[in-house]
């Protein structure tokens, strides 16, 4: 037993050394046209050695360590508590959501500009996560090309404003509807596909949209992107220092307050918040309607769903369309926030991150998706100092999460329905 432990621990330590030494301990330095390999400084070597030692010791005493860890878990008084009764939990959840929304409404007036800007991004990801949650979490259709609909929404606004001077508020429904139309179109070829095959086709679709945007240079400007996307206005009031469009007034002049560039950021944040709340409420209702239930039925058992008169076509298309619709929303807000978009913003990694939000949050769970969206967007910002290792930390966090909480942060809990007992 002990001998086996030592062998195993040695093996793990060697693997750690093999992986970490070339990555951290060696440096490529360009000298003129030559590239020279050089070692890192001593502190790095000490670090690597320490890591190897830690791995060795951890593996050696693993049973003891995990044993004491579970003792910590047992000390947690909340561990064995009974789940809350249904009505109490629903009330608690509703109260939490309302508090969050109220807090989110007031917060930007006290926070710094940078954090409000980040919060807008979080809200955009919340919209995307909630939308993808319909497709992946509820209908069980693995969609790896979700970013395509996001791109459609963003480019709709960008191009309409560039060519036809259309404002944000007109472009918002148009972008969402066009994204929904694309969702509907994508739905057709993948009607018969499930699981891996579906994932591959949607992945391809996402790439097609991105590559199209990249190569339709005459229309989209290709890799140069589209710039000069206007900011949203409030009843014809602009938030810039000077009025850009004829006939509009300026916010700070109407209210007779000094110009402050924060106003624009806060306004955009509030729009994103409004749209995120709309997304949340609409999807929350949909889930409890026949449409939402039929999504879940299709995920659970397609054959049984068909035998009960549900049309596979209708159910799948509605899931894709509604999911895409909200991505279009998010895209329009994103375009307006950035003021400039290019195909670079809609790469596969974005799809992967949105999917990670859904999976981390707990498939089908709205509160979970919101929490995960915050975590996935804010954590990398906090970890900016280790910017080189951000992706590494992100990956490690995912792996740990899947080991300890594979059902997600807040897994979906079923709503109990009170039946009349006669």
């Amino acid at each position: 037993m002990v001998a086996q432990n030592i062998k195993h621990a040695l093996f793990c330590a060697v693997i750690t050394l093999i992986i970490s030494y070339p990555i951290l301990g060696l440096d490529l330095i360009a000298e003129g046209i030559q590239i020279k390999l050089s070692g890192a400084d001593t502190s790095t070597y000490i670090g690597i050695a320490a890591a190897v030692l830690i791995v060795f010791l951890f593996q050696l005493f693993r049973p003891a360590i995990t044993g004491s860890l579970s003792a910590i878990g047992a000390a947690n008084p909340l561990r064995d508590r009974k789940p809350l009764p249904q009505d109490k939990r629903v009330r608690l959840e509703r109260a939490a959501l309302i508090l969050i929304v109220i807090g989110a409404l007031l917060w930007p007036f006290f926070a710094s500009r940078g954090s409000v800007d980040l919060a807008t991004l979080v809200l955009i990801y919340i919209m995307l996560g909630l939308g993808l949650n319909v497709v992946v979490g509820l209908a069980g259709l693995l969609d790896l090309g979700y970013v395509a609909f996001y791109a459609v929404g963003a480019y709709t606004f960008a191009l309409l404003s560039q060519y036809y001077d259309i404002s944000f508020w007109v472009a918002l429904p148009l972008g969402a509807l066009l994204a929904a139309a694309f969702g509907f179109l994508l739905g057709f070829p993948v009607l018969r596909l499930r699981g891996d095959y579906l994932a591959i086709v949607t992945l391809g679709f996402g790439e097609i949209i991105r590559i199209l945007l990249n190569n339709l240079t005459s229309l989209t400007g290709g890799p140069n992107g589209v710039g000069g996307i206007p900011d949203p206005t409030l009843f014809g009031m602009e938030f810039g220092r000077r009025i850009k469009t004829e006939g509009n007034t300026s916010f700070h002049e109407v209210f007779n307050i000094p110009y402050n560039s924060d106003h624009k950021v806060i306004f955009l944040y509030l729009i994103a918040l409004l749209l995120a709340v709309v997304t949340l409420v609409v999807i929350r209702r949909l889930v409890r309607m026949p449409v939402g239930r039929s999504w879940e039925a299709l995920r659970e058992d397609e054959i049984a769903a068909r035998s009960l008169g549900m049309s596979r076509t209708g159910v799948k298309l509605s899931a894709f369309t509604i999911g895409a619709f909200f991505a279009g929303f998010a895209g329009t807000v994103f375009a307006s926030k950035q003021g400039f978009i290019s195909p670079e913003s809609f790469v596969f990694l974005e799809s992967a991150i949105i999917l990670a939000i859904v999976v981390l949050g707990g498939m089908g769970s709205q509160l979970g998706v919101i929490l995960a969206a915050i975590a996935v967007t804010v954590l990398p910002e906090l970890a900016r100092e280790f910017s080189e290792y951000r992706m590494l930390i992100f990956g490690a966090a995912m792996v740990l999460m899947m080991i300890w909480r594979p059902q997600g942060l807040l897994p979906m809990s079923r709503v109990h329905i009170q039946l009349k007992q006669e």
Binding site: R293, A304, R306
Partner: protein, 251 residues
């Protein structure tokens, strides 16, 4: 009511069903029996639209339905259960019944989003119907359990209840007694008879449990190796030499 003529189903070189005919009248329980692999479930799959039959006609209440997609057939009132229970496992028992009624509900998205009075009324009604059928199959107390966590016999009953909330005209049960203990089989027996008597539902039944089949069937069709072997009342079948040979082998 249901009239099947010369049904055949070919999978490549294999003729799984060959010239099977079947007819079911109002308020009648008709059983299909036969040795394993005889093609009983294939017949069911053809009737319910999961397969497109290679030949023959199926008419249901005067309308030819062969080749119509499965979900449309079930909307006509021809609903089936499965040999292996197929429930929506992670949904609750009530939700299983609600989702089955989705086409009775207002499917208008906006009516549901703003909860119009008409929508509420319909929702209420479908809840009542779900509660009613849960009571009929004795699962009312388990209404908010996840369907996948029920005992096997309860799952079987839930599957039947799920068919019944769609208000079918004809119910097709594929081995409903498989895996049930004698007690549960007896209850199932009574349930099926009650469905026929009280709700005017015709039943087509595939079953290996002979006591159940002989007890409740009005007529029995025997299929062997895809071909019809015999048909008649339970008594006639019991004395039919061909049937005995097919089941017990020849001396």
């Amino acid at each position: 009511m249901l009239d099947v003529r010369n049904l055949s189903m070919r999978f490549g070189g294999l003729l799984a069903v060959d010239g099977v005919s079947l007819d079911v009248k109002e308020k009648e329980i008709v059983s299909i029996i036969g040795p394993n692999g005889a093609g009983k479930t294939t017949v069911f799959n053809c009737l319910s639209g999961f397969y497109q039959p290679s030949g023959g006609t199926i008419s249901f209440e005067g309308k030819e339905i062969q080749g119509i997609p499965d979900y449309k057939i079930s909307r006509l009132g021809l609903v089936r259960t499965f040999q292996h229970v197929r429930l929506f496992n992670s949904m609750t028992v009530v939700e299983n019944l609600l989702v089955a009624q989705h086409r009775h509900l207002n499917t208008n998205l906006f009516a549901g989003l703003i909860k119009t009075p008409a929508y509420r009324k319909k929702e209420e009604k479908s809840l009542e119907r779900a509660a009613y059928w849960l009571k009929q199959v004795g699962l009312l107390d388990l209404a908010n359990r996840e369907a996948g966590n029920l005992a096997y016999g309860q799952q079987r009953r839930l599957e039947i209840a799920r068919c019944m909330v769609t208000e079918p005209r004809l119910l097709m049960l594929d081995e409903p007694a498989a895996g049930l203990n004698p007690n549960e089989t007896r209850e199932l027996n009574q349930l099926i008879i009650r469905l026929k008597e009280d709700y005017c539902v015709s039943v087509v039944l595939i079953e290996h449990d002979m006591s159940l089949v002989m007890d409740i069937s009005d007529r029995i069709n025997v299929i062997n190796q895809g071909r019809p072997l015999a048909s008649g009342t339970p008594d006639e079948i019991r004395q039919n030499d061909d049937v005995i040979k097919a089941y017990l082998g020849e001396e």
